[in-house]
């Protein structure tokens, strides 16, 4: 489909071809979900073709289970990118939440530990929001600096709690890694409400529309009476809380928590949002695409593992695909 879209609009093309191309263009622009789902299906088909019998109920469950934390982290990026920002602190904040939860659970029990983790994440998000919204620091710099601060504070904290050790409560393990009925990952209990809230909230709620408005045209949004800084503060707090939830789920999935647990998921989370059709310049995108983007990245990783590609080749292909998909979006949507 990329190739077709690529040649669109050339004046010498026959009329029929032009029509087909413009239809493709329109579909990709208005319904980015359709080509994304086709791509996902193609990848699953390719996987089944290269290793027959691998696609089963259990495989679906483990794939979704692996994709859920990534999809939640990518929700942070989607929300931030809609306003023209980015949240590079999700890795540090998610790791912090997981580590706080695991170390506090030994003495305080799981509920209090979770509350502490979420509160700490909210504070980090608040600082991010104040920096971006009030002091107008570039989100890239602000969240980058914040991730350094969080990581540093956590490595000091790590020394304080080295005695008490970490404990992943059974409930969290059940939630993060359990699979019910053979094909339903338990983390869906957390993810399904989040997904529904974000997808519908972005389209229907006032806050969702404010995010689009701020990203699409901040001047117009301000002149229309939006208090942009309040929107941004709320956004980054929300983003940090979502990151914390993802971190706790990952801790449950891996049955371990360290201060740099989630660090390597930061760039893939941006990649998933970009693949899903959210523009980093703000004002265009949605969460449904992001979820499919996270699934695509997860299936792609499995596929490359099955094909026995070395880690290095996987990374190269990862990068090439992201550029290609982003280029296709830019081409059909006419803007960046």
């Amino acid at each position: 489909m990329t190739g077709m879209a690529g040649t669109a609009g050339s004046p010498g093309a026959p009329r029929g071809a032009l029509l087909i191309e413009s239809r493709w263009r329109r579909i990709i622009r208005d319904q980015p979900l359709i080509p994304l789902v086709i791509l996902l299906a193609a990848l699953v088909g390719l996987l089944e073709f290269s290793k027959p019998g691998i696609v089963s109920g259990n495989w679906v469950a483990t794939t979704i289970r692996a994709a859920i934390p990534l999809a939640i982290l990518a929700a942070c990026q989607t929300l931030a990118m809609l306003t023209g920002g980015i949240d590079l602190s999700v890795g540090a904040v998610a790791s912090m939440a997981a580590f706080l939860m695991a170390t506090q659970a030994t003495a305080q029990g799981p509920v209090v530990a979770l509350a502490i983790a979420l509160a700490a994440a909210a504070i980090a998000g608040l600082v991010n929001g104040i920096g971006v919204g009030v002091f107008k620091v570039h989100p890239l710099i602000m969240t980058l600096g914040m991730s350094l601060v969080v990581l540093g504070v956590m490595s000091v904290y790590q020394l304080l709690v080295v005695r008490s050790g970490t404990l992943i409560p059974d409930e969290i393990r059940w939630l993060g890694s359990g699979i019910s009925f053979g094909f339903v990952p338990n983390s869906l209990v957390v993810f399904a409400p989040i997904a529904v809230l974000v997808v519908i909230g972005l389209r229907r709620s006032g806050f969702g529309r404010l995010l689009f408005a701020v990203g699409d045209n901040p001047v117009a949004a301000r002149l229309a009476g939006t208090r942009i800084w309040q929107v941004l503060v709320a956004l980054y707090i929300l983003s940090a809380m979502l990151a914390a939830i993802a971190g706790v789920l990952i801790a449950g999935l891996n049955n371990s928590a360290t201060v740099s647990l989630v660090e390597q998921s930061v760039l893939p989370s941006v990649a998933a949002a970009v693949m899903g059709g959210t523009s980093i310049l703000g004002g265009r995108g949605g969460y449904a695409g992001t979820i499919v983007g996270a699934l695509i990245l997860t299936v792609l990783t499995t596929l490359l593992t099955v094909l026995d590609m070395p880690e290095a080749v996987r990374e190269v292909l990862f990068g090439v695909i992201i550029v290609a998909v982003a280029a296709a979006y830019t081409r059909v949507s006419g803007d960046a």
């Binding site: 920096g131 710099i141 490595s155 000091v156 760039l267 941006v270 992201i322 982003a326 830019t330 960046a336």
Partner: protein, 334 residues
């Protein structure tokens, strides 16, 4: 006789005027130099025997990050950003280490030149992708950071390879006075030879022009696309230098990029380069790298737990940028 005195006076006035206008244009850099002096004084107070050996160690340590900061500064000045600086450094480092291992000195020279060309090419690919696909810089370079990191891992899976003796000697030890580390001289010469002529040429002017206003630059007859590609190529070149510095300091190639991309962005911002493009230079980022390194050793000698240093580095980054934008906001209001 009188005319000679007059000419001399005029010359002096001209120099003073030049210095003043430079100072006006480089308030941030001057502030950084002041900060550097202050931090150096604190360092000397905290560590009375801080002397030549420590300075040489410092110079060698900062060399890769300094090149990375310069690389990042150039692309940001032209209105972009390069998240693949670290991976390109890793790529350059492993390529040089693998090719240099057990080879003659002369071959090593060819390797160094080849790796620099590789850096230029890699950067040009980044830039061409940005220009051709029209995808935002940050997305393209983020994706390409996977590609270059993967390529580095393909070349060398674990740290290994080797480095020629002369190549390692070029940055270790002092030059003349024990207070003058070779690494610093190498840094100064390379940056001066590459950047200063460029900055003063039309090409340098176009870099700044494209960074401060694409449309304005286009309407003034600057070819925006090639200029952007050139900026990325230069960034690739300096990233490759950073990678070579990594090989030279460690003696082996390191396939994992570490946090050099993030550090380069931090130093670039602290160095007074505006993320919006078109403003700043390369001297500021280099001084910022030195200041950050000194602060780290100071904290260590002041008895602060070294684990705090990351947090403090982040806090400095946020604090300085907030301060900068606060000043800018005041100016707009006034």
């Amino acid at each position: 006789m009188t005319s000679l005195v007059g000419a001399r006076r005029r010359l002096r006035a001209e120099i003073v005027e030049l210095a003043r206008s430079w100072a006006r244009r480089n308030v941030w850099t001057l502030g950084l130099i002041g900060l550097l002096v202050a931090v150096s004084a604190i360092t000397k107070l905290l560590q009375p025997n801080y002397g030549p050996p420590a300075i040489q160690g410092l110079a060698i340590n900062i060399l890769p990050i300094a090149f990375a900061a310069v690389a990042q500064a150039i692309v940001v000045i032209s209105g972009g950003i390069d998240l693949s600086v670290g991976p390109v450094m890793a790529l350059a480092s492993v390529t040089s280490a693998v090719l240099m291992k057990d080879q003659s000195d002369l071959f090593a020279v060819a390797v160094v030149l080849g790796v620099l060309l590789l850096g230029l090419a890699v950067g040009a690919i980044n830039g061409a992708l940005v220009v051709v696909t029209k995808v935002p810089d940050i997305v393209v370079t983020l994706a390409m950071s996977f590609v270059w990191a993967g390529a580095a891992l393909l070349i060398l899976n674990t740290p290994g390879g080797g480095a020629a003796q002369w190549f390692m000697a070029i940055i270790s030890g002092p030059l003349g006075s024990p207070w003058l580390p070779k690494a610093l001289v190498v840094l100064a010469i390379i940056v001066a030879v590459v950047w200063i002529p460029l900055r003063r040429s039309t090409v340098g002017l176009s870099l700044y022009a494209v960074g401060s206003s694409r449309v304005g630059a286009f309407r003034s007859g600057v070819s925006v696309g090639p200029t952007k590609i050139l900026a990325y190529a230069l960034t690739g070149f300096f990233s490759a230098l950073g990678g070579l510095a990594l090989t030279a300091t460690g003696g082996v190639g390191a396939p994992v990029p570490g946090s050099y991309t993030l550090q380069s962005i931090a130093a670039m911002v602290l160095g007074g380069v505006s993320l919006a493009g078109g403003r700043g230079g390369v001297l500021g980022p280099i001084i910022a790298v030195i200041v950050l390194a000194l602060v780290r050793t100071d904290l260590f000698f002041a008895g602060v737990d070294p684990n705090w240093s990351t947090a403090i580095q982040g806090a400095i980054l946020i604090g300085v940028v907030m301060f900068g934008s606060l000043v800018a906001m005041r100016k707009v209001r006034a």
